[in-house]
């Protein structure tokens, strides 16, 4: 028998009204403006854009306000919004070598062309809370120095001259670039689709998996060949114009992970690579992504697949936090009928169990007598 239960409309409406009130909080405190969030919580916005998989700072900021700062909820809102818009096309691939660089460091080459540019980094700060920021202290303008205009060669190009590092990842010429927002996931994935999933994957999940490879679960001997952050131009081919039109610039973070590799039946000893590319200033995410990309290439490189981070279906199926939160959080929604059925089942099993115990007990006693 199936019984539909209705009700709760008033409770839901009032709950949402209460949510709106609590979201706004104390009315004597000025409301946050979207531009304040864009400017001052920029890295939180970058995370919402990266995992929401939509580059639009104001929308991401709006989502953060609406979600009371719950970033996964904000990511959910952004993902839902993007489904309402038509698709104009695919941009030309960005050229990270032509980036307007804001930060660029290499852990493998001290003196690489263009140098080590620290940019606006938390590295080397003492991680001491600064109580002065609770006020609005005067902040000095950044120092400036003449830029040398040197082209910032990607670190992979330096090692490539010696032939000791594998090339940038190529796919077969007849391969059509995958798009996981258009086709359902089917394992095994080509590396392009896998990178698309990783780029919008949950930072915490990928961070933990990347960390697990460092601790020995699928060890890959990684070095940060290079991390660079900055703005790249987007170009789109449109039928009405005879040239690719420039759409503007976006900020991205790119990580080239370089991994020592002792060789296998499929590949000679060399440096292999993992790649990370993420919206915004998201260094931790780009690094975690590149570690996961490399770990997931185990099969391709003829390594044993022994660790969770190397298991493509496991990693990619669980990397999307909107899917994950949807399935975990749905558990709190009414399951009354399911649970009633389970309750009946457990009662029946319990009574059978007790009956069996009684019988056993009787038999034991009789045997003893």
């Amino acid at each position: 028998m199936y019984v539909a239960v209705k009700g709760g409309e008033a409770a839901i409406a009032n709950a949402h009204r209460l949510l709106a009130d609590r979201r706004r909080g104390d009315r004597s405190v000025p409301a946050l403006r979207v531009d304040q969030i864009v400017e001052q919580l920029a890295l939180g916005i970058d995370r919402v854009m990266a995992e929401g998989s939509l580059y639009d700072r104001e929308l991401a900021a709006l989502a953060v306000v609406q979600s009371r700062g719950d970033l996964i909820e904000a990511i959910f809102l952004v993902r839902a919004y993007r489904t309402t818009l038509p698709r104009f096309g695919y941009t030309r691939p960005i050229d990270t070598a032509a980036m307007q660089v804001e930060r660029r460091v290499s852990a493998t080459y001290k003196d690489l062309p263009g140098g080590q540019l620290l940019g606006p980094t938390f590295d080397y700060t003492h991680r001491l809370l600064d109580p002065q920021l609770a006020g609005d202290p005067e902040v000095v303008e950044p120092e400036q120095r003449e830029a040398d205009g040197q082209r910032m060669t990607r670190v992979s190009e330096i090692l490539a001259h010696e032939g000791l590092i594998e090339a940038d990842g190529e796919l077969p010429e007849d391969h059509l670039t995958g798009d996981i927002t258009r086709e359902p996931l089917e394992f095994p994935l080509a590396r392009d689709s896998r990178l698309q999933a990783l780029s919008r994957g949950d930072e915490g999940f990928l961070l933990a998996l990347g960390y697990s490879t460092q601790r020995g679960y699928g060890r890959s001997h990684p070095f940060v060949g290079e991390v660079r952050i900055g703005e790249v131009e987007l170009e789109l081919d449109v039928p009405e114009l005879p040239f690719p039109i420039t759409l503007g610039r976006i900020r991205v973070t790119e990580c080239q992970m370089v991994n020592q590799f002792k060789g296998s039946a499929k590949a000679p000893p060399q440096f292999t690579r993992g790649y990370g590319l993420v919206f915004g200033q998201s260094e931790r995410k780009a690094m975690a992504m590149s570690l996961c990309d490399r770990a997931l290439r185990a099969g391709e490189l003829g390594e044993d697949v022994t660790a969770p981070a190397q298991d493509e279906e496991f990693v990619i199926s669980h990397s999307d936090n909107v899917q994950a939160t949807g399935f975990v959080e749905h558990l709190k929604l009414p399951h009354y009928v399911d649970f009633q059925a389970e309750l009946d089942l457990v009662r029946r099993m319990r009574s059978e169990h007790e009956k069996r115990n009684q019988t056993n007990e009787t038999e034991r006693r009789e045997a003893a007598e």
């Binding site: 104009f88 990270t96 950044p142 987007l234 039109i245 503007g248």
Partner: protein
Amino acid sequence: MKMDRRQEREMEAQRKVAMAALAMAPGDELKRLCAAAGVIDEAELLRGPETGLVSVRGRIGGGGAPFNFGEATVTRATVRLPSGEIGHAYALGRDKQKARLSAIADALWQNPERRADIEDKIIAPLRAAQAQADATSRAETAATKVDFFTMVRGED
């Protein structure tokens, strides 16, 4: 004939640069410059302004096979001037007024009599501001460049 094609290419290259400057312009600044340049909005809208998405592509390893790594909002518009020129605009973001003005500026740019005016009063200031902002950003980044020095120890 060959000359014509070359001129055409040059013209296309210039138009691409002008459209890029419009696309990268802050909306408020573009509105101000258009008003100052006496751009009259008498264009007929042929399409939009409408907001949609582009799928953004990168390359594996930086230079390998392309892959999609996210989407971005883009707003576009197409207009026709009373004199017949058709102008297009595409830019990141959701600023519809900016898309409309950019399309009008693009249409005016195609009119040889108006081009110099649009270049001088709208495109040039936008490009100068962008170049200045880029130079400042590069100089600020350059100040964070690490200068390594070596400590010499011992006598030899």
